[in-house]
Subunit: 395 residues, 3 copies
């Protein structure tokens, strides 16, 4: 294992412009910028394990805006802020309201006088979440340029309609940990597949985030889902291009079996078709409760036709040596455990339970790394200072 | 521009008994005590701009009690606590409940064992908000005297039925910044006027706070509102007396035009007549929903008769050189932007948008200054220490 | 009064395995472990009074899980975290939901990546609250052992169906303060009695906690309640055995008068019979609103037969010299103050009002002490460091 110092040296050699842009879509970051986040996250995780304080802010707020319920992401973000020394302050705007124009400009400034980070989760409305984040970002740029704000807060996408970069980057960090290095992921087969779930309306951001990111590192990414369960076409196109550029592969297959065949990694997870999400967005905007109920019923019926998209022991046997790494962003719909019939068979999940927890454990460090990379042109210098001082996190 | 050190020297020369009294009404503070808050706020703002840590508490809680929804004040208060090193803890009593007697005494003590500040916003009930704060203050005095509390928390009025001192002091700090000095405000004409809004029940505390404070510094304050939209008579009387004492002026005129004529500053803002607020208080206490609905309807109809109280481009032309500074506590009802017809024309607001943001940006520093002035007999000494040590806020 | 240094010396001499077990039931801790918590709490309280910082964490989260409304406990826990340097993060699972199995295992890990403490209040469901805490504890042990968590968070029972150790330990700390020492409590008569209240469903954890703890220190504990208002039999048995072991006494008498006769301390407080709590638990689980209403009605009628269980001036005259110390966990149902007829007469409460506040004031320190004792094998060393460094809490 590399020493913390070696990781910092590696970090120092990367070329990055990350301090000038928010982390809103993983494919807007260069490979070096992605590597930077991975390295900073690893350094933070190692420092915490060695009881070295990672606090870089003496004071400062980290604002959270959650437009959907969330426990895991909320805690990961709170943990990230705490690692850095920021205090969390939640903006509760009411969940259904979509703010625009002057309201966004004003609110973005009003909450940021003492804010060093803003994390936003907005994944309910197709076409709106990521756009909202950019609107906030532009307002922050303006506020900072005009002298309203003494600093430009780092803006972090905690899940939107298009991408879920804190999740996919945590997934990548976990794969790197599990397989030993980023290089070792080259050529590894990962199956990102739909799976049956007795619920509906699950966002697309996880599968989109995974295919958009894993294709950057030479992996062999296979996407599979039943007919009609398409992801946003533009994102699939991004994955296709990424694969070409990185020397990896991207294929779109028709069955879970095909995707699992010989896979090193499987990521079976339910989502709603993007066409459904479009309709749902319109209905939500129109506040059409009857329409939403009808859509839900129709979707659940549609889902029920695909119960065979189930990550069973038999399905796992198709993977490489029958031992592919199972991944999930949690919570999974576990058959016989959290639901009658779901995404994954109980015994399969139980075997990889701790692995999925470890996968999730990367998130606080990834988020902290994204904030650090946005705030500092040279994160390696800051980390070097922290390492040198080596203040105890806990006495 | 004065150096931070010069500001601290100035501060040291002031006579203040602020550490022995809560900041509940600006007219209960001496002029030196008001200047002290302004100076401390300026020092804090400058220190933050120069990346000097302003943390004076190693630990300690800052309690917030919001009896009305609030985003801006909530964030300003949270920011102020964070600047000082205090952690926010919210007391959520339920919004409609008005506690009295033993409940207040007990709760005030129970939340204060480790609290160094308590900020209260209670502006819904005429005759109740400020009174409640005093009840809390008396309970804190008792708890401290009896040895229940190891410290007497600073109590800050975050808006009550009578005054909104954190707003008016932020307004004053902004005027001082904009015009260059407190002295330069002498003789400046400020129009505090009612303006039409398609909502009702807006509190009186902002206009009352403004006329109660700006008359302290020799300004020429003009109050204007339609017939029947009176402020609390006692507060108008306070403004009148303040003007006499400070060598300023206070006049009560009948039209927006008169108030705007030759004004250096305009502050057009909607509010409900205090008679209506009295009725509303009774209805709220009686939980009379039908009565409240009827009152709202009647008030909106009444408001609608005064749509000409509108801060338009034409109205602005009446001001000094057509270039008066437009002020607002935000959010403004902007015609064609946040509502169809409101307080201010879109193009006027847009021209002063950044100015209103800068006005608001003073609030965290003003609140932090109020807390510091309440906790320390000699705030200048503390600030001198902070300046000397000059710990980095952000590495 | 002993010096802080002497208290720390005393602390160093205790034998404790508290760093290896959560504080879930006071009778699972050895006497030395209880003394350890009392001593650490006293040191923390004294340090705060002398403006010595008690922060031992540079960063870290303290998670709170409140499955019932709470102001006092919430603030006490927040204060304890703040004393130690931890930031509070609330997990809001929805109040009625009882999680089990994988959900608990997963959630416990997901919230704990950066958590050093978890405080849980879960007193609604008989047979469930303490069991839930143990389920969380087991999940944390597993997560830590498997390398998911970089640290094992301290788990603190903030009130369950069986015990309320942070309350009873605060009560004990107050008795120690009031009577001068732990030794002086030997032989002191304490009456833990039921009292009438116009509400129902009050948890059993306070009386159970008091009889389970005070019998550990040689006190003469008398439990009294009307027929049918039994506590959980197993806990009464624990108290009985504790008394034998500590050389104290435990008696179960039939009237408030008998209990008060010659008492040094009285603790009159309402609670629901455990049989009722069992029925209530079943109804809550079945979501049977009608059943719950019927039960409430029946219980209030039953309660009303015992209005003579009232801590009046006459009742107080029965106590030792008429001057027993009155205790309450607050808020008390005060006749003529917070209700028409309640647990205690207004004049009695008023005489002991400040005393009950002081009783409550121990809670933040007790909770902080429980966390410290769970995190450090040698808390005396940490406290010695803090004392030596003597950083100012407030500049």
């Amino acid at each position: 294992m590399k020493s913390i110092n070696e990781l910092i040296q590696e970090l120092g050699a990367l070329k990055s412009d990350a301090h000038n842009k928010d982390f809103l879509l993983s494919w807007e970051q260069t490979t070096d910028e992605l590597k930077q986040v991975l390295l900073v996250a690893e350094v933070f995780k190692r420092m915490r394990a060695e009881n070295i304080a990672t606090r870089v802010f003496n004071s400062g707020l980290g604002v959270s805006i959650f437009r959907d319920n969330s426990t895991r992401t909320r805690f990961s973000y709170a943990s990230a802020l705490n690692l850095l020394g920021l205090a969390q302050q939640d903006l509760d705007e009411g969940k259904s309201q979509i703010a625009h124009g002057e309201t966004v400009r004003e609110t973005a400034n009003m909450i940021s006088f003492c804010a060093d980070a803003i994390g936003i989760r907005d994944d309910m409305f197709l076409g709106a979440g990521n756009a909202y984040m950019r609107e906030v970002g532009a307002a922050l740029d303006d506020g900072f340029a005009q002298g309203v704000l003494p600093q430009r807060p780092a803006l972090v996408n905690l899940q939107c309609d298009i991408d879920h970069p804190t999740q996919s980057m945590a997934d990548l960090a976990w794969l790197q940990e599990h397989f030993g290095s980023l290089d070792s992921l080259k050529g590894k087969k990962i199956a990102m597949t739909w799976a049956y779930s007795p619920s509906y309306g699950k966002p697309l951001s996880v599968p989109q985030g995974v295919i958009g990111l894993m294709t950057r590192f030479g992996m062999d990414v296979r996407l599979a889902h039943p007919e009609g369960y398409d992801l946003i076409p533009e994102v699939v196109e991004v994955a296709r291009k990424n694969a070409v550029a990185s020397g990896g592969k991207f294929s779109h297959v028709k069955t879970m079996e095909e995707a699992f065949a010989g896979a090193d990694i499987v990521y079976p997870k339910s989502w709603a078709p993007y066409k459904v999400m479009e309709t749902r967005t319109e209905l939500l905007r129109a506040n059409d409760h009857d329409g939403l109920k009808a859509l839900e019923k129709q979707c659940l019926m549609q889902n029920a036709k695909h119960k065979n998209w189930h990550c069973t022991e038999d399905m796992m046997k198709l993977t490489k040596g029958g031992e592919a790494l199972y991944m999930h962003c949690l919570p999974a719909d576990i058959s016989g455990v959290s639901c009658k019939e779901g995404e994954v068979q109980g015994s399969v999940f139980e075997r990889y339970r701790i692995a999925t927890y470890k996968e999730a454990s990367w998130k606080p460090y990834i988020i902290a790394a994204m904030i650090l990379a946005r705030k500092y042109a040279k994160p390696a210098q800051i980390l070097e200072q922290l390492l040198k001082e080596a203040q105890a996190r806990v006495r």
